[in-house]
Structure formats: structure tokens, C-alpha cells
């Protein structure tokens, strides 16, 4: 098989992933149902109806951000890959399955805000996505697939970022047990984990 063809297989896998990410992120809007009000309802009634939807809007925004974050990680990791390996295919499909599942978890959570079970489910899906994301992105930036010209720091950064997303999602799961309404705030810890991991890596390198 010619080298150009191998690259083509990589491109097509990336393309398929992009399409699935794009559709999943767009399907989030389907759960936003326009409020139904009697014809000639007052402006105040409309504003109240919209106010009742605020949790749904916030949930839409967060889930859009979560899927967007996973897409951005995928984008960064595969931007450093130049060769195709069939080994990544199955893991990538698993990652896409968790992404596709997310609109369901988001819809369930946004109509049961402040409830523990939906919050835990949502965060567990996020954790599963984070673990598969780590596996996929490590394969993409590993010896099988990485662009030989890619900077080693850039490759190392992908792994670190992946681990910090896993830790952030795990924090969100933990938070879901205690403060179900704010579990997604666990994601705020991602930059903290990232800094911690890079501090540890530097200390190790110094030792």
C-alpha cells in the first residue's frame, strides 16, 4: 500500500470523527424546546417562560463546551499525527460512542437539575469519554502514528492534557455525589491538574 494511501486512511478517520463530533454538538439544540404560550401572551409571560429555560440554556452551553473541549483535544492530537494505524480505529469508535451518548445524558440532566443520579450519569459519561480520549490521543501521538517532525514537547503536552481531563472528569464525578447541581464545575479543576502535572514532570526532569 502506497504511503499516500495510508495518509488518506488517517484523513478519512479524522473526517468521520469530525462529522460525528459536529452532529453530536448540534443535536444538543434539539433538546431545547421552544416555550409554548397562548397566542397574544404578554411580554412578561414570555420572559418568565424563557427564565424557566435558563437551566436548559446553561446546560446547553456547558455540554457544547464539553464536546467542544473533546473535539479540540482530538484536533490537537491528530494535528501531530502523520501516519495511520488501524489500532486506533476501535478506540476512536468507542470515544465517538461516548460523544454521541452525551446529548442523551445532557437532556436527562437538564430536565432533572440538582438530582444526584442524572448528575452522576452525566459525569460518568464524561469520565468514560475522557479515558477513551486519553487512549486515542496517546495512540495518535505515540510511536505508531506521530509525525516524526513533531516537537517532543507538543507530543508530551497531549498526554498531560489528556490525563488532566481524566482527573477533572473524575473530580466532577466525585462532586456529583455531594453537589449534584454543580458537578460540571469539577471541570474547572482541569487547568489546575494540568499545572500540577507539568510541575511534577519538571521536578522529575530536574531530579
Amino acid at each position: 500500500m502506497a504511503a499516500a494511501k495510508t495518509d488518506h486512511s488517517l484523513e478519512r478517520m479524522i473526517f468521520f470523527s469530525d462529522a460525528v463530533f459536529a452532529i453530536a454538538i448540534t443535536l444538543l439544540v434539539i433538546d431545547l424546546h421552544a416555550p409554548e404560550l397562548p397566542r397574544g401572551a404578554s411580554d412578561a409571560a414570555h420572559l418568565q417562560a424563557l427564565a424557566r429555560l435558563v437551566p436548559n440554556f446553561v446546560s446547553f452551553g456547558i455540554s457544547f463546551g464539553v464536546i467542544g473541549m473533546f473535539w479540540m483535544g482530538h484536533h490537537r492530537a491528530f494535528g501531530l499525527a502523520s501516519r495511520y494505524s488501524p489500532r486506533v480505529l476501535g478506540w476512536n469508535l468507542g470515544l465517538l460512542a461516548t460523544i454521541v451518548f452525551m446529548p442523551f445524558a445532557a437532556a436527562y440532566l437538564s430536565s432533572n437539575i440538582f438530582q444526584r443520579v442524572p448528575a452522576i450519569l452525566y459525569c460518568l459519561v464524561m469520565l468514560a469519554a475522557a479515558l477513551l480520549n486519553l487512549k486515542v490521543n496517546r495512540t495518535a501521538t505515540g510511536p505508531l502514528m506521530a509525525d516524526p517532525h513533531a516537537a517532543p514537547e507538543a507530543l508530551a503536552y497531549v498526554g498531560q492534557r489528556g490525563v488532566s481531563v481524566v482527573l477533572g472528569s473524575a473530580s466532577a464525578v466525585a462532586l456529583a455525589f455531594v453537589l449534584p447541581g454543580f458537578c460540571q464545575a469539577g471541570l474547572v479543576s482541569i487547568p489546575f491538574w494540568r499545572r500540577f502535572l507539568s510541575w511534577r514532570a519538571n521536578r522529575r526532569a530536574a531530579a
Copy 2:
């Protein structure tokens, strides 16, 4: 990282954006529900049912045009970009979020035509999209990303067009307070703003 790889990252970002635009524009049809009539209803009853849907058809057409307009602007701007900058990623995702939100705003407006709150919401979403569109397209045609061979007038035109879309959307918001049923007519002012901006730019250049 090789230059070819950088271009690849740009292409993939454009591709992802295209997919989101395409899905959002197609989801508009989901809000068009086929009229349900008893089996054997007369032609007149069918025509009446369709006539009642005319506002929805008009709304579908306008929203298709609005998303199409943003896509065309994105298309023109990134047609002038040849380098990738990770800075555009976050803003672009924000722009896509407003585009994805548009089918919701359109559905809310089309089932509450002539109402002030839905009209203002719709136009505010459009304004948010216009502002993010301006930021994204300016970055794409700015020093970080622009194709060095791109004609300076073409680059300048993108910025001007972006500002005129913002002004047109702001006009639509203003109109929504006064004439809710016709707020989208504010977009008709876009070519006017464009001409005004180019007239002002020419006058400045002459001075």
C-alpha cells in the same frame, strides 16, 4: 511541526465548522411539521392548512438565508487564510454555538410571530453571531493567519463586511422593539451599511 501539518489543522477546523453550519441549516426543517388532516380531507382544507404554515415557511427561508449568509462570510474569510493559529479555535467554537442555537430561536419566533420577546431573542442571537463572526473572520484575515499572497483589498473587504453584518443585526434588534413581526427586515440594511463603510474608508484614504 511541519508547515503541511499546520495547514492540515486549518483545514480540519474549517471542515468541522462546515459540518456544524450544514447540520444547523438542515435542522431548520425539523421545525416544519407536516399538517395533519383527516384522511380524505378536501383540497381546499389542505390548501388552508398550508396557508396557515406560510409564516413558518417564510421563517424557514429567512433563517436558512441567515445561516447561509454567515457560512458565506466564513467561507470568504477562510478562503484568504493559509496558516493556522490556535487562537481562532475558541472564538470559532463560540460562533458555532450561536449558529447551533439559531434553530431554537427560529422555532420560538416562528410559532410566536409578531411577539416582541421572541423577536428580540432571535435578533440578539443574530447579533451575537455577527460579533463572533467579525472576530473570527478578522483573525482569519489578520497577520497571524492570512495568506501572504491574498490581495489587501480582499482582506479589507472581509472586515468591512463583518462590521456591516454587525450593524445590520443591531438594526434588526432595534427594529424588534418597534415592529417585532418584521425585525429580520433589519438585515436588509446590511448592503447600505457596507456602502456607507466603504464610502467612509475611501474618504479617509483620500484625506
Copy 3:
């Protein structure tokens, strides 16, 4: 602007069109609702429920074929184009609007089979798509965009095919007035029109 960039604009427009075609063709399945039967219903009851859905299955198949046919025409025409012209953008967006509208017309027709108004609406949408398709494909294979190395017969064939699709759709509209349940059979006349047009073209060439 570099030539490579111009090609890129063409590719992106084709890509966006492909995505819209793909989503519209897939949305057709959304109108197929799984029959709901009581738990433990007999096999006969299930078969009857499926039998009642046969018109919907047929309609799904036909509409899939219709959108597929327009996609194939688009695919063939743009396979002969090598340059980008912004003139095609607006017409192409119009064509996509009719394609996106098709799942609505199909849903309306399939739940009102044998009724005149839905049949005429469906066929009119098809005719609008056929007219825009002709305009877009002629532009793509015209002097502005055609690949200079493309075979003249291949270019001519695209125009002929486009006209025959228009004539076939017009036949379907005419048939919808008389035999609403079988209006789509008008499309069967497309190969006939194609042969007629090529016969006329040959006679003219001979004269």
C-alpha cells in the same frame, strides 16, 4: 489570491453541499416512526403494523432516490469543474434550500398519500430543485468554472441531463393533478427525455 486557494474555495463549497445533501437524505428516516404495539402483541399484529407502513417505506425509498439523484448530478457536474466562481454560491445555496425542504414535503405526502395538494407540493419542490440544479450545474460546467481538460461531450451531457430532470419533474407536477398517488412516476420519464434531447442534439449537429 493564489490558484491553490481558489481551488480550496471550490472544494469547501462542494464539501458543504455534500454535508447538506447527506443530512437531508438521512433526515428522511426521522419521519419513519416505529409502530407502537402493546407488549406481547402477536407476530400477525406486528406484520399488519408494518404493512400499514408500506406507503411510508415506499415514500422513504423514492425520496432517498430523488435526493440521491440530485446529489449524483451535482457530483458529476462538479467533477468537471476545476475553478471557483463566487457566482455559483447563491444559486447553490438555493438548491440546497430546496433539498433541505424535501424531507418536509416527503413527510407531508407520505401521511397523505393519494391526496392532490401534498402531491403537487412535493412535485413542485422537486421542480424547483431541478431548475436550480440546472442553473448550478450549468455554471459549474460553464466557461467560468469548467476544467479546461474536461471532455466537451461530458460537459454537454451535464446540461442535457439537467434539462431532462427539469422535464421529468414537470411531468411529475402534471401527473400530480391527475394521479396524485403516482406523481413521482413522472420521474420515470427522465431517461426518455434524455434520449429525446440527445436525439435532437444529434439531428441538429447533422444539419
Copy 4:
């Protein structure tokens, strides 16, 4: 027509197929409806509601895997193709139609689990997809389209894999008559068929 253009037609067909696969695989989530519980329902009630959805989750996972499997086969076969032939277009569209139909069959089956008719329908759709898949992938790796540099074993493997998917789907159909709730387990036989076919091919080669 230039050779580069021909490749472009192939790419575009692959792209369109990818988009349809991606949308169909993502639409599977639409059939997962978030359980609706009264505000303030207990955690136990939520867990019970989720437990009732387990068949739907399993069905989602299986159908995701089935569409993913067909996509992976398509991906592998077209990774070995380097030339375009219009002959594959119609068959490929047929394959896509069965893929698009799958979310319907999956929704019908998952709300009528353990019923014979929905199970048979689902497996018949899978069998139709497998047959079209075989035809499409054989054309892609056949003399008309195959990359001249592709390894003959890789080309032969595509055909073998296609036949084993057909045999596995046929096993699933047969199983659907006897054990409707577990018909998809027939797919487990695919690796067995693959091994059997390669054993037979080796024996023939030896003879």
C-alpha cells in the same frame, strides 16, 4: 478528464458516504428518550427508570457497533482504491439507504425486544446492508478501482471479510426466528466465518 479530477470524484463519494454513516450513527441517540420523573423523585426511582432503559442502552451500543463495523469495512476497502468508477455510485447509494434505515429498525426492535417480527426485520436490514457492502467493497477493490500498488492479500482480505459479514448477518436472521431477543448475537459468528473462509482459501491454494 484529468486523472486528478477522477481521484477527486472518488474522494467526494467517500466523503458523502462518511457523512451519511456519521449522521446515521449519531441519530441512534435520538431514540434514547430521557426518563421523565416527577421533580424531587428519589435516587432509587431514578435508578429504576434507568434500569428500565437498559435494553435501549444495549440496543444503542449494538447498533452503534453494527454501523461502525460497516463504516470500518468501507474505510478499509476504499483505502485500497485509487481510481473512481461511476459504476460504484448506485450500489453505494443503496448501501447508504440501508444504513440510513437502520436507526428505524433499531428503534422498532429496542421498543419490542424479544419479539420475532422486529428482530427479523432488523436482521434482514443488516443482511441487505451486508450484501450491498460486499458488492460495493468488491468493486472498490476490483480491477476498475483498486490501487495498482495495493497488496493482493489486502485486496483478497476485503472480499473475505465482506462474505463473512454476509454469513454472520444470515446467521443473525436465522437466529431471529428462534431466539428473537438475541438475534444480534449471530454477528458473533463473523470471526468464525472469516477463519473458515481463510482456511478454505488456503486449502484451495495448496491444492
